[in-house]
């Protein structure tokens, strides 16, 4: 059923306005990455570059090992996201639908964990990883990232599991389904918006995390993108061109993923998962 005209018009106007506002700074970053250094701090600025150059991109990939950084970030982020979704949905389901005790304390505890400033836990975590011999490895990042992103995922997924009608659970039990089966077969598919939401946030959080990646993985072949970009800067130089080039490149995989999976993501986010 179509929405009334005025609603659609207002919707378009508001949406397009905000899309433009959101895109403007990014547009500026994008074009700056193609400008030669001499134009970057020119005033008045050129809203559209007079000269184009690929030198910053060449520098990012050639002089710095950006390709390797991308690979590391991809491996770490995808793996962490996978585990967060798997463990998080199980835990979220348990808290939402199963008659276990101490739910409130657990939720509060999860809050505490996501609230604790990561910088404070870095040194003890470092000692832990060093004792296990896991520095300079993928698991050095995957495990902490999973742990620190689980609380949010659990909260979100719990919320989604709560909104699935309880009758389904009863029906499944009557049919003899085990708890795990009803979780896997029935509930999980119904909470795809939640899964995509949690997936997006976790992936982005892992993709953009800086400090743990800096301290736990000092070897140059194990650096991730955020650390790599930080290394572009010299002591007194902020090479905007190269930094922005690296940044544009780091967004491209996310955009590609979203474009490829856009049907699922969009339908997950914009179609009702539960028909009336």
């Amino acid at each position: 059923m179509r929405k009334p005209l005025y609603q659609r018009v207002i919707g378009y106007v508001v949406l397009i306005f905000f899309l433009v506002v959101i895109l403007l700074p990014f547009y500026w970053m994008f074009v700056t990455s193609f400008e030669p250094n001499s134009d970057i701090s020119a005033y008045p600025p050129a809203y559209f570059p007079h000269h184009w150059t690929l030198s910053h991109y060449e520098e990012a990939f050639g002089q710095f090992h950006f390709g390797r950084y991308i690979l590391n970030s991809v491996i770490v982020s995808i793996t962490s996201t996978f585990f967060v979704l798997l463990f998080g949905s199980m835990a979220g389901f348990a808290i939402a639908r199963l008659p276990i005790k101490a739910k409130q304390p657990m939720l509060i505890f999860l809050l505490i964990i996501s609230v604790f400033p990561p910088l404070v836990v870095i040194t003890p975590l470092y000692m832990l990883l060093r004792d296990v011999g896991w520095l300079d490895s993928y698991q050095a990042l995957i495990i902490p990232y999973t742990a620190f992103n689980l609380p949010f995922a659990i909260w979100i997924l719990r919320n989604y599991f709560l909104q699935v009608p309880g009758a389904l659970f009863e029906a499944a039990k009557i049919d003899g389904a085990s708890v795990f089966m009803s979780y896997w077969r029935i509930f999980l598919p119904l909470t795809t918006p939640g899964l995509f939401t949690a997936a997006v946030f976790t992936f982005v959080a892992c993709w953009t995390e800086f400090f743990m990646a800096l301290v736990f993985n000092p070897d140059n072949t194990m650096r991730t993108i955020p650390v790599g970009i930080a290394l572009f800067s010299g002591q007194y130089t902020v090479p905007y061109g190269t930094i922005f080039a690296g940044s544009v490149v780091s967004i491209v995989p996310i955009v590609i993923l979203v474009v490829i999976f856009r049907r699922w993501i969009v339908s997950g986010l914009t179609q009702g998962a539960v028909k009336g």
Partner: protein
């Protein structure tokens, strides 16, 4: 009730708990275990260690940290430092203002996306761009935009005739805060939009149908149908945004370095400075723990305002 359902219906055993329920409880703990193990293994030791640090005076020695228990002395020192209260004040009002604006804007945009037919996938992709930027990079970008001499924002404002001379965005106390907030809102409103958007989708369509049949107009539908159903998502978005806002670090660190002076020094920045710049580990841990307590307090206040709206328990 059918025979089958009778079999599965709850009935009291001598233990006071149904066997079905007990089985569910075991399954429940089983499903909690993987998450539990990962979380506890990684976070328990560091967090407890940090809490313990806050009750000690810590000296770095060649054998690592040397702890000397000093009770709440660190906390006394922290709470008697004016800088701490400046940071608390700044962090609190910064968080409240940005989260309020983001919730409002996020709702607006999410509703807009829901109400249009085309542009849905484009919107989602565009939303993800600011969110997926590395925070430090986003801050560098804004620093470039806000630059008082060659920044593009001043160029645009001057070109449009809004201002006569360039504004020193990050150099004045008032504009620095505004600049910071604007950069933050730009980057994190998408977070709210996505949560609210997916929350909107869980509202069954016939609720809208029923309201429309009853003759309700758009505003009434929103207020009586959409908003109540959305409270859970709003609560979650608000909750986690508050968490993040209270812990804000990267943005002020790069954009204003906590300045001018200490105007924009957030609690997280203060903690980092105490820990890793001044190397006062006991005090830094006390700042961190105080930050956690403050955030928890804020969360509890926020949750009680949304009492019972963060998903009722299904029993």
């Amino acid at each position: 009730m059918s025979k089958a359902m009778e079999r599965h219906a709850s009935f009291r055993t001598e233990r006071g708990q149904t066997s079905v329920v007990r089985h569910d409880v075991r399954a429940g703990f089983g499903m909690l275990t993987p998450a539990g193990i990962v979380i506890l293994a990684v976070t328990i030791f560091p967090i407890l260690y940090s809490v313990w640090m806050s009750f000690n005076s810590i000296q770095l020695t060649e054998n690592g940290f040397q702890f000397t228990f000093n009770g709440i002395q660190n906390y006394v020192d922290v709470y008697s430092a004016p800088l701490f209260w400046h940071s608390v004040w700044f962090t609190v009002y910064y968080s409240i203002v940005t989260v309020a604006i983001e919730l409002f804007l996020g709702l607006l945009i999410a509703l807009a996306i829901q109400n249009v037919e085309k542009l849905k996938s484009v919107s989602v992709v565009v939303m993800l761009i600011p969110w997926s930027l590395i925070t430090v990079i986003s801050a560098e970008m804004w620093s470039y935009i806000y630059n008082g001499v060659y920044g593009v924002l001043n160029a645009i404002l001057q070109g449009l005739g809004f201002i006569h001379s360039p504004i020193n965005w990050t150099g004045e106390p008032v504009t620095a805060v505004i600049a910071l907030m604007a950069a933050d809102i730009w980057k994190t409103t998408p977070f709210v939009v996505i949560i609210l958007l997916s929350g909107l989708q869980m509202i069954p369509k016939d609720y809208y149908e029923a309201a429309r049949i009853d003759g309700a107009n758009g505003w009434q539908i929103f207020w009586n149908v959409t908003f109540p159903q959305l409270r859970g998502s709003i609560a979650i978005a608000g909750l986690f945004r508050i968490l993040q806002a209270f812990g804000i670090f990267d943005l002020p660190f790069v954009l204003t370095q906590g300045g001018p002076g200490s105007t924009t020094t957030s609690l997280a920045m203060l903690g980092e400075e105490t820990l890793f710049t001044n190397l006062h580990f006991g005090l830094g841990a006390a700042v961190a723990v105080s930050t956690v307590i403050l955030i928890l307090g804020a969360c509890l206040i926020f949750l009680s305002a949304f009492r019972g709206m963060v998903g009722e328990e299904a029993q």
